[in-house]
Symmetry: D2
Subunit: 279 residues, 4 copies
Amino acid sequence: MERVVSCDLTFDVGEPADVALHIAAANGRVVRAERLDVTIDRRVLPAAIELATPHGGRLHLLRTPPGILSVSYRAELAAPPATAGQPAAAIRGGLPGLPGLEQLTYLRASRYCPSDHDVGFAVAEFGGLPPGRPQVEAITQWIHSRVGYVPGSTNVHSSADDALLTGQGVCRDFAHLGITLCRALQIPARFVAVYAPGLTPMDFHAVFEAWFDGAWWTYDATCRAPREGMVRIATGRDAADTAFVNVLRGIVALQSTEVTATVTGLLPIDDNLAPHRLC
Amino acid sequence: MERVVSCDLTFDVGEPADVALHIAAANGRVVRAERLDVTIDRRVLPAAIELATPHGGRLHLLRTPPGILSVSYRAELAAPPATAGQPAAAIRGGLPGLPGLEQLTYLRASRYCPSDHDVGFAVAEFGGLPPGRPQVEAITQWIHSRVGYVPGSTNVHSSADDALLTGQGVCRDFAHLGITLCRALQIPARFVAVYAPGLTPMDFHAVFEAWFDGAWWTYDATCRAPREGMVRIATGRDAADTAFVNVLRGIVALQSTEVTATVTGLLPIDDNLAPHRLC
Amino acid sequence: MERVVSCDLTFDVGEPADVALHIAAANGRVVRAERLDVTIDRRVLPAAIELATPHGGRLHLLRTPPGILSVSYRAELAAPPATAGQPAAAIRGGLPGLPGLEQLTYLRASRYCPSDHDVGFAVAEFGGLPPGRPQVEAITQWIHSRVGYVPGSTNVHSSADDALLTGQGVCRDFAHLGITLCRALQIPARFVAVYAPGLTPMDFHAVFEAWFDGAWWTYDATCRAPREGMVRIATGRDAADTAFVNVLRGIVALQSTEVTATVTGLLPIDDNLAPHRLC
Amino acid sequence: MERVVSCDLTFDVGEPADVALHIAAANGRVVRAERLDVTIDRRVLPAAIELATPHGGRLHLLRTPPGILSVSYRAELAAPPATAGQPAAAIRGGLPGLPGLEQLTYLRASRYCPSDHDVGFAVAEFGGLPPGRPQVEAITQWIHSRVGYVPGSTNVHSSADDALLTGQGVCRDFAHLGITLCRALQIPARFVAVYAPGLTPMDFHAVFEAWFDGAWWTYDATCRAPREGMVRIATGRDAADTAFVNVLRGIVALQSTEVTATVTGLLPIDDNLAPHRLC
């Protein structure tokens, strides 16, 4: 199964600006073809600087004069090399099960995942289950059954607490809530922005990864696209780390976004709870 | 069963001040004896102005010069007159079940009871039960089993959301959470500050009342004192309406609080869920 | 100057429902003509029950079967009777300046006006000014200069804190912020829903009233319509008390709202800070 | 000037537990002597695992059986090697002023620093100043003059918004507010936990660093200890990254904390605004 993903973004740039884009597929797959084209008022803008972000992510920095900024990204991706995607072996000497810095980082409360605030709720609701996979699966099912997918119900300031209490949200809120409840149970969890073949309506999507049994496992409480088809873009603590665009300087208004994501052949079927690892 | 309640408050008044006290037993019982003594630097302060607050409450306004302000209140109270405490009959003509203004008021979100924010959670957790008493009882049990009574875990700014998510609080938080979940289910609910014989450690206490079947029914999710022994002080939307002291002007620091509340004979036994109406 | 106001609301009622409407002009003006017409699927619905709300407000309760509910309200209003609108004289005996229960109520923190949380900010920013009118005027100017009127920037859960920190909001947020800062300075303040001739685009509008010098004075930090032309609808602690519609039972979806408000002759000019009392 | 710092912590461990300690001085100084002693019920606990955290930080992981856990850390530190502490030279090729990943990370909103929420306020209050150092200095002065240092006024869930609005906080709140306002103005900013000779009462302390002119500059809006004497412990987005202890597994209660920090000779004098770089 191969994947073709793309996004086309248009911005109105009002004064000289610096922009960070987090739209490219993360490293880890075989790249058959890939293009990132950027123009300002239809003239080519010199190449962006690429920065490596966690878990293979690639962030592109642009410096642009005023005008209409068009960004077009397209990639054709094959399955990852055979060696990728294996669970990390005992990566820390000495004491089995002690977390590394990566796991510690993703245990901590973050902007949209105030896990320190929700320990009581999480322990009361899920603390009686065996740690690790059973808790993460129960969290995913609980969110799916309790939170409605309602576009416009939340905004850029909304946290997991809002999703839990209002019972509404969009994909980022579902992911934030999953992360928050995991961390509140001492399970490292992180946010993943993805291209998601099969998503309707098509857009950027978000899922979460939880750490247990020595690996990061991917869950999508929205159940709106099969995990097997997804292509990782950015990985971080929450949406603050993974926004597809950040304006660092100047006045820039997003005017349009168009995302596509397809697979060759039939879309995989996903039971939404079977263990899955996103490469 | 008679009740004797008292409170002794001491304040340090730094400049001429106006203070509102909400400490007297509400009207509705036979008063055997009652005293409110106020001194400033051990000299008697002229009589306070008494204002009537909802449901028989009595608020006392003081104007005081600087000094050490001592407030001493004591009341001996017998059972209410025989006619009190009956369910309000059909108080509204025409359409049975339509709320009056009192019920409408206590359906609305308030400072510490953001019921608008919690509709999704309340409906998902309790919406499947029959409306009215079954929902209120389920809410009370849920709070009792899920929230720990932890002095110091919350502060004067904490809302019902904090109690729900952190799983901790004190009596006002338990009452706020009960009120919030009721209102989110369209059940009018309100906050009651009480003297509570049997409470340990003794202090001012708070419970909530929910409206169904044509009357206000009292619930105490803390289960820390029998409802039958309680003496109503102030009734309102939440703790903002019922604080035992409010400083309206000047600089006033509370230095000490001592509350007592006893009943003659044995303390009643309370199963915590049987319907109870506080007079 | 006469005023003509109207609103036409359409709802989709999915099951038998009870609805509360707060759309009629409050008492206090000479009523030349007034109609409230309610139909369900184009058949007349029996008369609503009218409840009196604070400061002359009038709330209408409807019980309706499923269908398309149409509500049409229209009123022609002349200046208030000559005796109306005078400052309340010394309404409390004994101690001048001590608040009555009305003023105490509007000193308290409410759902969207968490004044207890903002005392530090309010005192630091405005506490150096003389109490009363100078503080209220400074608050109004500060909000006007600091908060942008941005439709869609807030939602029904947003509080005054959101307006203060994000620097954005709509009329209800401006009013909530004015109320919050006043209360934090011990100035009673309340929310008023109004018809506002001259508002663009036309809609329901909201302003706030602050109590000083023995009267309630009206301020509109949005400066989007002259206060003299406004017609009071509902008065309360904040938007929770004054919503133009509340669904008390059943499933009801608002489908359309159309508001008009005009004055005879020229629209008055408003300097936005001169003392004004809304009748 | 040499520094001697220490901390002694005692915990009650109720069941087998994993604990992370962030108490050791960060790398960057000449270490004259350093000890970390850990005992459980007075028996030596095998050596902790040390993990490197950002900016030289060192985190120690312990696995402990139940009992009384005693942690004792002590270090004597001299000035950093001559080559340390120089501003990072042009670390990024190509486009001057474009941030690196480190700067991007510290531009993002975090748990206690919701900078996305406060852009409006920050821009209105400080946006008229020249970017960089003038803004950071104005922020520091504003916080110092507007926020009172009040132990107990906030708790572990409090954010910068609470400090801004209540006008109260402790050192972590001061740092969170400085960070939040900087990030809202597009200035990278981060949290630093330190030993602070001269602090009264002695305890762990927190300051913030802002990025401008190609380096991280240290500010302390509390003005409670001279920056020159401080010893960096942990660096991160906010207090979530830098807690001196985190319990990763098991039940662990902190029983006592004792911190010391001294310098040889006189304590430096700090004008609190002069540029300072903490090594």
